[in-house]
């Protein structure tokens, strides 16, 4: 993997450099004793977070990333806490990332995938979770194909609920790790041009990223075929375009979203071949961006569909850094939601 120098010293990524959306009251004040906190005990989406909270999570992740660099990558922070990873949809990257994050914080973890759950026996989500809750977990990390499933759980659960991706709605930890990665490279989020290109309609990553980047003062362009642009995307905070050149022009960040092959069957695109011809991220197209552009992809990638291999493996690609940072960001989220009265990072 290519290593790049961080544009600014890490000190500049402290709360003092937060974006314009932040209100003074949200800013953690280092001179006060009270530790800054998230307002909600769940993480259901970026939609519920303000700029101060986003900054808090990203700043906390800086410390968490340091733990991952140690020889002994483990702290006792969540010792005695039980975290259930409840995955109703196939996921390798996100589930593994959460599991590693939980283990590094010394939580007791349990992962349930849909194939081994009683959901296949006709049990409802609510009943499944009520049964799990009877065994007193502290947190539930939920991945589900239905938008809003984490909201439903949060209304019936004692445990803290962390959304690990729900349907086409949100994937907040992905947006946070993307923001963390961008901030590492650019030193800021505010004022950046971010182009997101791909299947916008079906993407929870798009929604979370647009909400986060807008809150932090970035300019987000959303690009894809007209068939895959969600209705009302401007109100979400992105500028839609079907011109990949317009989206990439002068961009500081280019983020690609996966195109699933089955989209052809519902007439969204004629073929992956044509998609690549019109929207695929090639070295030629990337040249329109800033010279220090970074290229991101939440994975899993379709090489030769949304992204040319030369771009995916090129010097501007930070795709594997995103994966590394995912662990640190998820540690930060787990830590902040678990409450810090009992644990320390030492």
């Amino acid at each position: 993997m290519t290593t790049r120098t961080v544009d600014r010293p890490s000190d500049s990524t402290r709360p003092e450099s937060t974006g314009p959306g932040e209100r003074p009251g949200d800013r953690p004040n280092p001179s006060e004793q009270a530790a800054p906190q998230l307002r909600s005990r769940h993480l259901l989406g970026i939609a519920g977070l303000d700029a101060g909270e986003i900054t808090l999570i990203l700043d906390t992740a800086v410390a968490m990333k340091e733990i991952g660099g140690r020889a002994i990558k483990k702290v006792p922070t969540l010792r005695g806490r039980t975290v259930v990873n409840l995955f109703f949809e196939p996921s390798t990257r996100t589930r593994t990332s959460f599991e590693i994050a939980e283990k590094r914080l010394s939580a007791d973890t349990l992962s349930i995938a849909t194939a081994t759950s009683s959901v296949t026996k006709g049990e409802t989500l609510v009943d499944t979770v009520r049964n799990l809750e009877a065994m007193s977990p502290d947190m539930i990390v939920l991945r589900h194909s239905s938008s809003g499933a984490p909201e439903l759980l949060s209304r019936i659960c004692r445990s803290a609920v962390i959304n690990a991706g729900d349907g086409m709605h949100e994937h907040p930890t992905q947006a946070l790790l993307d923001a963390f990665t961008i901030r590492e490279h650019k030193g800021r989020l505010s004022g950046l041009k971010v182009a997101i290109v791909g299947d916008l309609l079906h993407s929870r990553v798009l929604r979370s990223n647009v909400l986060l980047l807008k809150t932090m003062g970035a300019e987000v362009w959303a690009c894809g075929p007209a068939t895959l642009i969600p209705s009302g995307i401007e109100r979400l905070g992105a500028r839609p375009t079907t011109s990949v050149d317009e989206a990439v022009e002068g961009a500081d960040v280019v983020m690609l979203l996966r195109i699933q092959h089955e989209r052809m069957h519902a007439h969204f695109i004629p073929s992956v071949r044509e998609y690549f011809a019109l929207f695929g991220m090639t070295p030629e197209r990337i040249r329109r961006a800033q010279s220090n552009v970074i290229v991101m992809h939440p994975g899993p990638m379709n090489r030769g569909v949304e992204i040319d291999s030369e771009v995916a493996d090129g010097p501007y690609s930070v795709i594997l850094e995103q994966v590394s940072n995912g662990v640190a960001v998820r540690m930060a989220v787990l830590y902040l939601l678990a409450g810090r009265e009992e644990g320390t990072l030492e």
Partner: protein, 429 residues
Amino acid sequence: MKLLLKNGQVVDPANGRNGRFDVLIEDGRIARVEPNLAADGAEVLEIQPGWIVAPGLIDIHVHLREPGHEHKETVATGAAAAVAGGFTAVACMPNTEPINDHAGITQFILKKAAEAQLARVYPIGAVSLGSKGEQLAELGEQKTAGCVAFSDDGRPVATALLMRRALEYAGMLKLPIVNHCEDPSLKGDGVAHEGYHASALGLRGIPGVAESLMVERDVSLAELTGGHVHIAHMSARQSLRAVRAGKDRGVRVTCEVAPHHFTLTDEALEREPKYDTNLKMNPPLREAADRDALLEGIADGSVDVIATDHAPHHADEKMLEFDRAPFGIVGLETAVPIVFDRLVHAGRITLTRMIELLSVNPARVFGVPGGALSAGAAADVTILDPDKAVTIQASALRSRSKNTPFDGWQLRGGVVFTIVGGRVVHGGR
């Protein structure tokens, strides 16, 4: 057995009455409607100042769930909800289990209704066997058994050919075809109105045009055949435009709107609690422009009927992920307060128009008795208090199901007495 409704403000548009009259009921029928009638041995029901005496309200779109889904509702519990909501008669959709595509099922429903002795129940028969859209059901036999209209509700009449034949055949029987208009390919697996709010929540969208495309088809087919098409639960402004255009050229098209569609919009989906499955119905809550168009259509007469699409579902069935929960909400016991509060008191319609939408026109559209306080007619009467303070309480509903988005709403206007066949079946404050 005589009952005298004394000193009421009678709103009876079909007979051109809007004033102070007494209503004398004898042997279950309206005997006389005149000022200052003597009690003459009749039991007297003193109507309080401000109360309205109206022909019984009729809801032409309800789901009573029996046979097959008695855990949601039965004919008896649905009829109890109806009279509690001021409705003296309801027409029930055929999507029971089995589907009401046969005279035997119609007879069963009518027998259950007779046993309940509450609201009158008019079954609507299926257009096609099993509502599968393949073969016409025996519409003639169904009419003889008691059906007042035909519909494959829940499913649109799928092909233009079947709709054409159904309109021709039902036209021969002088009964309407009621269609749940929705292009299946455009609806797809959508669960909410296509627009900003569905996008923000990650819910699959259904555009208003999915409805209006089929409305346009059906208006054209009614024009071709001379049959009567009635558009169920119209939700999209484009559909209203198509209905108006049809009416302008003399096509036999009528339409209904449900209270939730002129009260709520898709914006409600984003309010806490988000993803409330009691806001999931089909057609979905649409955007403000659609709601405003419906309000205009209700006021200007383009909309014929307000019908509730009363769709009971058990709480367990609604306690699911939004895209897995069933469509529909109960409506029988919330309609009158909503119509008073949001239409009459909001200055959008008069009391006379309210009674047209809830009584006169439903009777006319389906060709059923009622809709007028005429001498000799069955004494189906609803007595309303326009100023009654009503707080909707889901747990207190008579319906077996409590799936309403209006829980806790405080509204002005409600039902005081419901009289069916001269018998007070709901009454007292």
